[in-house]
Symmetry: C2
Subunit: 270 residues, 2 copies
Amino acid sequence: MTNHMLDEVRSAAVAAARTARESYRAGKIQPTAGVAPGMTQANMIALPRDWAWDFLLYAQRNPKACPVLDVIEAGAYHTVLAEGADIRTDIPLYRVWRNGRLVEEVADATPLWQEHPDLVTFLIGCSFTFETPLLEAGIEVRHITDGSNVPMYRTNRQCRPAGRLHGELVVSMRPIAASRIADAAMISGRFPSVHGAPVHVGNPEALGIADIHRPDFGDAVRIESGEIPVFWACGVTPQAAVMASGVPFAVTHAPGHMFVTDVPDSTYHV
Amino acid sequence: MTNHMLDEVRSAAVAAARTARESYRAGKIQPTAGVAPGMTQANMIALPRDWAWDFLLYAQRNPKACPVLDVIEAGAYHTVLAEGADIRTDIPLYRVWRNGRLVEEVADATPLWQEHPDLVTFLIGCSFTFETPLLEAGIEVRHITDGSNVPMYRTNRQCRPAGRLHGELVVSMRPIAASRIADAAMISGRFPSVHGAPVHVGNPEALGIADIHRPDFGDAVRIESGEIPVFWACGVTPQAAVMASGVPFAVTHAPGHMFVTDVPDSTYHV
C-alpha cells in the first residue's frame, strides 16, 4: 500500500469514528461492536471525585479487567482519545447507578454532570479492540457475524479490592473453533492494555456460569459443534463493583455500547 | 526439565531474592543489577497521601516510564510482590527529597515513615526485568558484564502532566550490537509492564543528551565499535517529576538500587 493509500484508510477510519459519535450525540442507540473497524473502543465509568482514588487503585490492582486508557479530571468531559468528543453525549447509551442499583438508562448524560459537577471519568480498554485482528486472521467473531451484542457474564472470581470497592470479575465470551483457540490467545495477548489474552478457555461452570446461553449482559450467541467458549476479562467489571460495593452514584456506558475513539487499535499492539 | 527441577530452580530464585532483601535490611548497599536473576525488581516512590492521586494519575498518563506494579496504602509497608518484606528497610539505598531537592541518602527509611505516617508507596516496573531474557538470547548487557550500575539520562521529552506533577522522561541506556537491536526491541517489547520496547535507538542528541559518557544517574559504560546506544523509559522518571515539581516530601530508591521482589520476570511476559 502506498503512503497515500494508507493515509486515506486512516482518514476514513477516523471519519467513521467521528460520524458514529455524532450520530450517538444526536440520539442514535446501537451496540458498537463492528462500528468504525480498526478504531479503539472504550468502556466508561464516571464517579464523584471522592471515589476517584479508590477506583484508580481498583483498576491498578485488576489491570486485566480494568486497563485504564484515559482519566478525565473532575468536572471535565473531553478526552485525549477523541478530538472534539463530549463524554456526556457521545456514547450511545448510558447507565445511571444510585446506591449500587441500576436506576435508569439514558442517551444523554449531560443532566447527570449538572447534578454531580465533580465527576471523574475513566475510559477503560475494551476487547472489541482485538476483534479486528481476530477477523483479519480469519477467526470468526460470532456476535459480529450475527450483528448482536457480545455476551458477558458475572463470575465467581473476586477482584482484588481497593478502599471501599470490591466485586467480581465480569468476562466476555466468544465461541472459537478448537483449531483457532491458540491463535486467538496469541493475537489478543499482544493487546495487554485492552484485556489481553483470555482468562479462561472452556468449562464455564468453573467460573460459576450456570447457563452459557443466559448471559448477565449482552446477547446469547450460538455455540457451534467443534467450538469452545473462550472468556476474556471485561470492562463491565467496574459496574459489578458499583453494584457489589453500593457506590452512591455512578454513570457508566451500557454494556456493549462503547465510546468509539480516534485511536487506531494498532496503538495498543505490543 | 522435570517439574521437580523446575520447582527447585524457582525456590532457589525466591531464596536469592529473600537473601538479598535481608542483607539490605541488615545494612548492605549495592546496585541490584544481576541480583536474584529471573526475579522482578521494582522502582519505589513514597509520597504523602495528599500527593497520591496526582502521582497515580501521572503514572497512568505515562505508562511506559511509570508502569505501576503495586500500590501500598497510606502508612502501610508490606507489598503483595514480596512476602514478609518491609519496604522501609529492604531496599539497599534510599533517597530523601524535600521541596524537590535531594537532601540525603539513607540505608534505612524507617524514621521517614515515622516523620510522615501517611506515606503511600508506589512500586514501579524496572527494565532489569527484561535483562535476563536479553542475556538468555545471547545479547550482552554491558553494565552487567562490567558489574556497574546502568547509565540513566534526563531527556528533553516532557511527560504528560497530572495535577501538580510534571517533569521530563528519564531513560536507561544499553549499548547493543547493530545486528541484535531488532531482537532486543522485540524481546523487551514483550514486557510492557516493565517499560517494554525501547523509546529511542541511536542519536542521543535528539533526546537532549549532550554527552553519552556522562549519565545523570548510574555509571557510564563502554560503547564498543559496531554498537548503538539503545534507550528505554526508566523508572527514575518519578524522581525527575519530584525535582521539576518541587514536591514537598518524597522517599525513593536510589537509582539502580532497586526493590527485589518474589515475582518471576515471566509473570510480566505477554
